[in-house]
C-alpha cells in the first residue's frame, strides 16, 4: 500500500513538474530576441548564396540535383523546392523571395507567416546542399527556424509590435505557453547537440589525450587568427581540450542548475567566440551562442535590450 501510494504521489508530482516545465506561460522576450538574432543569421546565410547561386543551388553547378538526389537515396522526405526548379529566372525569383522572408523575420514583420515560410525555405536550401556545401551552421539555422514557428516570436522587438502600437493597441505583451514550449525545445535540442558532440569526441584519441585543440587551431584553412604560439604551451592546449570535452558532456545536466548555469554559459561564450575568432567560423560560433541565449531569463534580456528597442519604437511609433 505504501509503495502504491508513494508511486501515485510520485507520478502526480512528476506530472505537475512536467506541466510547470512545459506549460507555464512565459514572457516571450527571450524567444523574440532569439528571433532577431537567428533571423539576422538566416538572412545573412542566404544572402551569401547570392554570390554564386547558380553554382551552389541551381540544377547544375558544382553538384547537379540528379547527383544529390542519388546520394540522398531519392527519399521523398528529403525535399527541396530547388529539386524542381530548372530555369535561372525561377531560381532567382525563389531566392529573392527567400531573402526577403528572412529579412522580414529578422525585423519581425508578419512574424507568424515569415517564421513558417522561413522554416520551409531554410530546409529547402539545406537539403539542396546536403551533402556538398553544408555544415553545422545549416543545422542550427534550421533548428531556429523550426522552433521560431511555434511561439509568438514577433510579440516584442518587431515591426509587428510597432504596427500594433501605431494602431493604438498599447496592450502589454502577455506571457505565453507557446513561447515557453519554443524556448524549452531550443534548450533541450541544444543539450542533445552538446551531449553527442561530447560523446563523439570520446572516440577521438587526440581529444582524450588533450591535444585536439592544437590540431584544430593549427589548421591553416580554418585559421583566421594565428594561434600557433600555443605550440609552446602544451598544458594550455591540454586544459582547453579537456575543458571542451567535459563541458560538452556535462552541459545537458549542469545548465539546469542555477549555481552552474552562469559558469556553463560563460564557458560557452569562451568556446564559441574562440571558434568564431580563431577558426574563421564566425557564423557558426555566433549561431551556437544565439542558441545559448535560450537559457537567459526574459528579465535579463529586457534589461539589456529594452532601452534600445524602446528608443527605436518611440521613433517609429511615436511612443513605447
Amino acid at each position: 500500500m505504501g509503495i502504491i501510494s508513494d508511486s501515485r504521489s510520485y507520478l502526480a508530482e512528476a506530472w505537475q513538474a512536467w506541466n510547470r516545465f512545459w506549460f507555464t506561460p512565459t514572457d516571450p522576450t527571450t524567444l523574440c530576441f532569439i528571433r532577431v538574432l537567428a533571423g539576422a543569421m538566416l538572412f545573412y546565410t542566404h544572402l551569401v548564396w547570392s554570390l554564386d547561386l547558380q553554382a551552389f543551388v541551381g540544377p547544375d553547378g558544382w553538384l547537379p540535383v540528379d547527383f544529390i538526389r542519388d546520394l540522398q537515396g531519392h527519399q521523398w522526405s528529403v525535399w527541396s523546392v530547388f529539386f524542381w526548379i530548372q530555369e535561372p529566372w525561377q531560381l532567382w525569383c525563389v531566392h529573392i523571395f527567400a531573402v526577403l522572408v528572412f529579412f522580414c523575420l529578422m525585423l519581425g514583420l508578419f512574424s507568424r507567416t515569415t517564421s513558417i515560410l522561413g522554416f520551409l525555405l531554410a530546409v529547402s536550401y539545406a537539403h539542396r546542399v546536403s551533402p556538398g556545401a553544408f555544415f553545422g551552421l545549416d543545422k542550427i539555422n534550421c533548428m531556429f527556424a523550426l522552433y521560431l514557428m511555434l511561439g509568438p516570436c514577433g510579440a516584442r522587438y518587431s515591426l509587428d509590435r510597432i504596427r500594433r502600437l501605431r494602431r493604438g493597441n498599447n496592450s502589454p505583451v502577455v506571457p505565453s505557453v507557446s513561447a515557453n514550449l519554443a524556448i524549452r525545445l531550443i534548450q533541450l535540442h541544444l543539450c542533445i547537440i552538446y551531449l553527442f558532440s561530447g560523446l563523439a569526441k570520446m572516440g577521438g584519441e587526440n581529444w582524450l589525450a588533450g591535444t585536439a585543440v592544437w590540431w584544430a587551431v593549427a589548421n591553416p584553412e580554418y585559421q583566421s587568427i594565428d594561434m600557433t604560439w600555443i605550440a609552446g604551451w602544451p598544458v594550455l592546449v591540454a586544459l582547453a581540450t579537456h575543458l571542451t570535452v567535459f563541458w560538452e558532456l556535462f552541459y545537458c545536466c549542469l545548465i539546469w542548475n542555477r549555481f552552474f548555469r552562469s559558469i556553463m554559459l560563460w564557458i560557452a561564450v569562451a568556446i564559441h567566440l574562440g571558434i568564431a575568432m580563431f577558426m574563421g567560423m564566425i557564423t557558426f560560433g555566433l549561431a551556437m551562442l544565439f542558441a545559448n541565449i535560450s537559457f537567459l531569463e526574459p528579465a535579463t534580456i529586457r534589461r539589456w535590450v529594452d532601452p534600445i528597442a524602446g528608443r527605436i519604437a518611440a521613433k517609429l511609433a511615436g511612443s513605447q
Partner: protein
C-alpha cells in the same frame, strides 16, 4: 488503496462541475486544458526522441564479439554484411521509425563537430584547357583571396572536404562545372590533403604552407564531351548530415 490528495488538482475527487476545470488549469499554472497538455506532451516526447535518436544511431557502429578471432587466425575484419557483426538494434530501429520525420525537418544529424579527431583540410587544385590545348584557367578552392566573405569561403571548403564522402563522381562533376564555367574542353583536378603540423614542427619553424604538407590523394581528368553514366559506379547512399 491510496488516499486522495485534496491538494493535488490532478487527483482531486469529485467537485462541483463549475469551478473544477478552471481550478485544474490555475493550480497547474497553465491556461491549457488537460487534453491539449496530454496531446502536446505526447508530441513533445516523440519529437525529442527523434532529435535524440538521430545522433545516437549515427554515433554507433556494429561491433565484433569480444575475443573474436577470424577463421584461420587472419587479422582481416569480416565483411560489413557478415552475420558476425553485432548491430546496435535499438538505435537502428528507432532511427528507421523516425527517419521520415527527421528528414522532413532537417534533423537527421550526428552533431560530431571536430570529432572523432580534428584532421587536415582538403583542397581542390584545378587546371582547365581549351580545345587547342591552351591552359585557360588554373586555381584552387577554398581560396581566401578569391572567396569572400568568410562564409562563402567556408562553402567552398566544404565542397573540397565532402568530396571524400561523396566519392570520385563528385570530383568529375566539379571538373565538368569548371569546364562549363571557363568554356574549356579538358580539366584536371587534384584532390589534396593539407596535413597539419605538430607543435614541434611549428616550434622548429616549419612553414604551415610547406610543400611537404600537401599530399595529392586523387587526380581526375575530365573532358567536356565525356559520357557521364550515372549508373557507372556504385554510389554511397548518404542521409544528409549523417556523421557530420
Amino acid at each position: 488503496m491510496a488516499k486522495k490528495r485534496p491538494d493535488n488538482p490532478e487527483q482531486a475527487g469529485p467537485k462541483p462541475a463549475q469551478p473544477k476545470r478552471p481550478a485544474q488549469r490555475v493550480a497547474s499554472g497553465t491556461p491549457w486544458h488537460p487534453f491539449w497538455r496530454w496531446l502536446v506532451s505526447l508530441l513533445l516526447v516523440l519529437h525529442l526522441t527523434a532529435v535524440f535518436v538521430a545522433p545516437w544511431d549515427l554515433s554507433t557502429d556494429p561491433a565484433l564479439p569480444p575475443g573474436y578471432v577470424a577463421p584461420g587466425g587472419s587479422q582481416q575484419l569480416p565483411p560489413r554484411d557478415s552475420a558476425v557483426w553485432q548491430q546496435p538494434v535499438v538505435p537502428r530501429k528507432l532511427h528507421r521509425f523516425f527517419n521520415y520525420y527527421l528528414n522532413l525537418a532537417y534533423l537527421n544529424h550526428g552533431y560530431q563537430f571536430f570529432a572523432p579527431d580534428p584532421a587536415g583540410s582538403n583542397l581542390i587544385r584545378y587546371q582547365v584547357w581549351d580545345s587547342g590545348g591552351a591552359e585557360i584557367a588554373t586555381g584552387e578552392f577554398p581560396n581566401l583571396d578569391q572567396q569572400w566573405p568568410r562564409l562563402f569561403y567556408h562553402r567552398h571548403m566544404m565542397l573540397a572536404a565532402q568530396t571524400g564522402d561523396m566519392g570520385e563522381r563528385s570530383g568529375r562533376l566539379y571538373a565538368k562545372h569548371l569546364i562549363r564555367l571557363h568554356g574549356g574542353q579538358t580539366a584536371r583536378l587534384e584532390w589534396v590533403l593539407h596535413k597539419l603540423l605538430s607543435p614541434k614542427q611549428v616550434l622548429d619553424e616549419t612553414p604551415m604552407g610547406a610543400e611537404s604538407t600537401f599530399v595529392v590523394l586523387a587526380e581526375i581528368r575530365e573532358t567536356a564531351d565525356a559520357a557521364f553514366n550515372s549508373n557507372s559506379e556504385e554510389l554511397p547512399v548518404a542521409i544528409p548530415g549523417a556523421g557530420q
